[in-house]
């Protein structure tokens, strides 16, 4: 009988242990206990989230592969599929920022090429504490350098993403990485084992003691001892992964493979049991055959190691020599460590002696599933109350507020980060990073793919359901602004400790919101990742669902960018503002408050707006399109004026009446964050047609001004309230993040 200390160390409860004994019909040995502990960890089993995730829409005519495989896949025409997924590497990135982020990139890339796809683009969604804190700058520098170090070396461009700063992430940064690849739709490869007697091959880097229990670490909260968990973070080798990527894609072309899976979380344990379980077969391996980096490793350590850059392959009988030849060309280990069996068991031997014997299904499909208790968080009622009339008059005028917002790290230019990323390798990148969706053309076709990742933790903190809906809407809207039709989505759900009913409530409400928005906008979820226990010393991050949306442009050269293109163009607003300041950047900057309810969202209107944007781009009627989000329409307009053209604009907006004393009416019109709004610019001769199309689609549309000059001038309610030079505004925006690092040196 295992004592409770051993169970604690493995993150297993007494009930879970009893369940293990029932499955085995006996007590497990320590190796078996280790295997169960990683497979039943939150990270691998989704035991708290599964009942909720089941409610998400996952189907559509475009979906070739939904959740359950290494990544999702959608049909992009021409016999091709886009394969994509987002995944978190939050916990490792806090403990060791460079390697944590680097291996996060490596892991998601493996998920994509495992499916037979050539990875062609990366995005990332990052959350850090306040940039004023020295600790944040260290983590930010490490994470960005880690992403760059891995992605640049392996040669996959990082084409976009988002970085948000908020004190709640100080002890728990979020590092979510998205990867997209292209494969022939007919040749998508699955992580499945089949064919009794087929050889099981181990390929790639040697196994070491790094990362043992990484999955268990990612399934617990942090406290002051977390730094001691450093050995549980793996070390990345992008060069090894580049070889593995090229060799695997070469093998996949040969049709000698039955199935393949990368060894990510829970390493050899997860890949063997999942491949066996999916194929309804057993897998037998001998750990003594596994290439090892260190001497004296026990079967327990070999099975649980999370050493990076390793793959498990099932090869068709008789085709072994050709597979071995390809890996030999790339100077990689390809070692036969076992074979597929008929009995559905994961059987592990060490020099022929059995050391573990577990039904695969007990580790995968029959892992525990919990309906965790939920209750509305106590903070919610209070923070949702926002009385604008009771606030003092704003301490700064609208000019100063706009410059302040542009310089706030969440809104400011992220050039400091993205110029460290190779965003042009593979020569497909159409929209350079910095504004809106990343767009890459698909070589050999006329098409291009647009992709965006978005999330707003502040909105979700104030209302998890609506916040999650807004995240889906914004990601899809960013894709639509580029002219691409949104096809499907992937989600990365970052939350606190699910054993606390308030957190579980946030989670459930957010998943509901995602489901509703995805259904309404026609973007099914094809996969993703859940990261729970993002807490330090009992302090949880804001609930932060991050949504990645992929869209298709039928004609790459009809792509629409975010910036104004020519002086004398007409500026129009699609959608309408309602002066919503709840949860806004403005309220945070000027009043230091995170309060109110997030902006309302009418999903039918949002859908109509997105459909319209795609049509306008396809008929080449608009020259630029950029949506209104953090900081409201004033920030959007400023960004439209920036580099490379540096074209100003003269704008007139209606005033919103948001309180009886009128103190914040002007701010609400300029900086309110009402959803479903897009600023477009167009040549004068196209305005009538745009108005007609918008009206026919039921999308409110208004001419709000004209481009030209070198100043941004905005009148609200007939009074000039913003008048800044583009140069000053752009300096505030582009120098902000750099300035934090210069301060550090001074």
């Amino acid at each position: 009988m295992m004592d409770s200390q051993v169970l604690d160390r493995h993150g297993l409860t007494r009930e879970e242990y009893d369940r293990i004994v029932k499955f085995l019909g006996r007590e497990p040995n320590l190796t078996e206990l280790g295997i169960f502990s990683v497979m039943w960890s939150e990270h691998c089993s989704y035991k708290s989230s599964r009942v909720h995730l089941r409610t998400l829409p996952t189907e559509g005519p475009q979906v070739l592969q939904g959740p359950g495989e290494n990544a999702g896949a959608v049909d992009i025409g021409g016999g091709l599929a886009a394969i994509f997924k987002i995944e978190s590497h939050n916990h490792p990135s806090f403990i060791e920022p460079y390697q944590g982020a680097a291996t996060g990139v490596g892991g998601i890339i493996r998920d994509i090429f495992t499916m037979g796809a050539r990875p062609i683009a990366l995005l990332n969604s990052l959350r850090f504490g306040s940039l004023d804190a020295a600790g944040t700058r260290r983590v930010l520098e490490g994470v960005v350098a880690g992403i760059a170090g891995y992605g640049n070396s392996i040669g996959i461009p990082t084409v976009g993403g988002e970085i948000v700063f908020e004190p709640c992430y100080a002890g728990n940064p979020l590092v979510n990485v998205f990867c997209l690849g292209i494969a022939p739709a007919a040749d998508i490869i699955k992580g499945v084992a089949s064919g009794v007697g087929n050889a099981v091959y181990y390929v790639g880097a040697k196994t070491g003691r790094d990362g043992i229990h990484g999955a268990t670490m990612a399934s617990a909260e942090f406290d002051e001892n977390s730094a001691e968990k450093r050995p549980a973070v793996q070390v990345g080798d992008p060069f090894m992964e580049k070889l593995l990527l090229e060799a695997c894609l070469e093998v996949m072309k040969s049709d000698a493979l039955v199935g393949i899976q990368d060894m990510g979380a829970a390493g050899l344990t997860c890949s063997t049991s999942e491949m066996g379980s999916r194929g309804g077969v057993g897998v037998e391996i001998d750990v003594s055959l596994v290439p090892q980096r260190e001497t004296g490793m026990t079967p327990y350590e070999i099975m649980l190691s999370e050493s990076q850059e390793r793959m498990l392959l099932v090869v068709k009988r008789g085709r072994e020599p050709e597979v071995e030849r390809i890996f030999d060309k790339w100077d990689l280990h390809a070692v036969r460590i076992g074979e597929v069996t008929a009995d559905g068991m994961l059987r592990v031997k060490d020099h022929g002696t059995p050391v573990a014997d577990i039904p695969n299904r007990a580790l995968t499909d029959e892992a525990p599933v919990y309906h965790r208790p939920m209750s509305e968080p106590e903070y919610l009622k209070d923070v949702q109350r926002l009385d604008l009339a009771a606030l003092p008059p704003p301490s700064r005028d609208s000019n100063a507020a706009l410059l302040g917002l542009l310089a706030s790290p969440t809104i400011a230019s992220k050039r400091w980060a993205y110029r460290q990323y190779d965003h042009m390798v593979r020569t497909n990148t159409i929209n350079l990073p910095g504004l809106g969706a990343g767009v890459v053309r698909v070589k050999g076709t006329d098409r291009a793919l647009a992709m965006a990742v978005d999330g707003n933790g502040r909105y979700c903190y104030l209302d998890p359901r609506r916040g999650a809906m807004l995240a889906v809407a914004e990601a899809a809207r960013n894709v639509a602004c580029s002219g691409a039709r949104p096809l499907a989505a992937t989600n990365c759900l970052n939350f606190g400790n699910p054993e606390r009913p308030a957190i579980m409530w946030q989670f459930a409400r957010a998943v509901e919101g995602i489901g509703e928005a995805c259904r309404a906008l026609g973007v099914p979820i094809t996969g993703g990742n859940v990261s729970l226990y993002n807490e330090t010393d009992g302090q949880s991050v804001y609930p932060t669902p991050v949504i990645g949306v992929v869209g298709l442009l039928e004609h790459a050269d009809r792509v629409v960018g975010g910036r104004f293109k020519a002086a004398g163009d007409v500026v129009m607003l699609l959608g309408e503002g309602r002066g919503e300041l709840g949860g806004s950047e403005y309220l945070k900057l000027v009043y230091d408050q995170v309060r109110g309810v997030p902006p309302a969202l009418d999903l039918d209107r949002e859908r109509a707006l997105q459909d319209l944007l795609v049509r306008l781009a396809d008929s080449r009627l608009v020259r630029s399109a950029d949506d209104c989000s953090d900081g409201g329409i004033a920030v959007t307009l400023a960004e439209c004026c920036f580099d490379p053209m540096g074209i100003g604009a003269e704008i007139s907006l209606d005033a919103d009446e948001v309180s009886n004393n009128g103190r914040l009416d002007e701010a609400a019109a300029l900086f309110g964050e009402s959803a479903s709004r897009v600023v477009v610019s167009a040549a004068a001769e196209n305005v009538t047609r745009i108005m007609e199309q918008a009206t026919a689609a039921g999308v409110p549309v208004r001419v709000i001004g004209q481009t030209g000059g070198n100043r941004l001038r905005i009148a609200t309610g007939g009074r000039m309230t913003v008048d800044v030079s583009i140069e000053d505004a752009e300096r505030a925006w582009s120098a902000a993040i750099d300035s934090y690092f210069q301060k550090k040196i001074a």
Partner: protein, 241 residues
């Protein structure tokens, strides 16, 4: 004509070079794996960008030992045109086919962005279709592009007119003391001595450049200024036949 594109383990701009040569220029290109020893009759050799052998020891330091490099050296010595782009430039330096060395970027960070370079010389197979003083807007993407040569070597390189490209501002003014000075030092992205972005050997048939011309060959991707480099090679070859 046929371009040989050498593929080292860790090369990652090999396909980009292939695309530019074949799909954009309409010429032939052949990948040659680094373990091979035969250039298969190619007329030009490209050493593409990337991270050969992971650049773990020093950029380009391992790649020069690859079997194919013996053939590349022989090809260069016989007067064949060889162009190294980014990591390919670093490999040519390590192999001693070009003088000087690369240091880490002045800012110690990898930088990927469009820069401006000025054409300094046109009597090479790589710039023959350009004019002196022409400014090209081309992307860079490197962490070690800070070109360095000791003073005597630098003097010799300059005296021999081996500097083919210099970083410049959009008007062609070069930062620092060389060429046509006057530009702010911010236009030199990595701190290269004399703002050097590309050099050739004394014989002028081996050329290395840090910016990526293959990334600037199509309007869809934001510019075609890089095309003149590859077109020059094609024109020079047509001229020799």
């Amino acid at each position: 004509m046929t371009f040989a594109i050498i593929v080292f383990p860790g090369s990652n701009c090999d396909e980009d070079a292939h695309h530019a040569v074949t799909d954009v220029l309409g010429e032939r290109a052949e990948y040659i794996w680094h373990k091979e020893t035969d250039l298969k009759g190619a007329d030009v050799v490209i050493l593409p960008g990337g991270f050969a052998h992971g650049d773990y020891l020093r950029t380009g330091a391992m790649a020069r030992f690859s079997p194919i490099m013996r053939s590349v050296r022989a090809f260069a010595e016989s007067g064949g045109p060889v162009i190294g782009i980014c990591n390919g430039f670093q490999i040519l330096l390590e192999a001693g086919l070009l003088p000087g060395a690369m240091l880490r970027n002045r800012g110690l960070k990898y930088r990927c962005e469009h820069v401006y370079v000025r054409i300094e010389q046109t009597d090479t197979p790589f710039t023959g279709s350009a004019r002196v003083g022409q400014v090209l807007r081309i992307p860079i993407g490197h962490g070690e592009g800070n070109y360095f040569a000791p003073p005597e070597m630098l003097q010799k390189i300059e005296a021999n007119r081996q500097v083919i490209l210099r970083y410049a501002d959009p008007d062609g003014r070069v930062p620092g003391g060389a060429g046509v000075p006057g530009a702010d030092d911010k236009w030199n992205p990595n701190g290269s001595v004399n703002a050097i972005a590309g050099i050739c050997n004394e014989r002028r048939n081996v050329f290395g450049m840090m910016p990526h011309p293959e990334r600037a060959c199509e309007a869809l991707l934001g510019g075609t200024d890089g095309k003149v480099i590859l077109e020059s090679v094609v024109a020079a070859f047509a001229g020799t036949r």
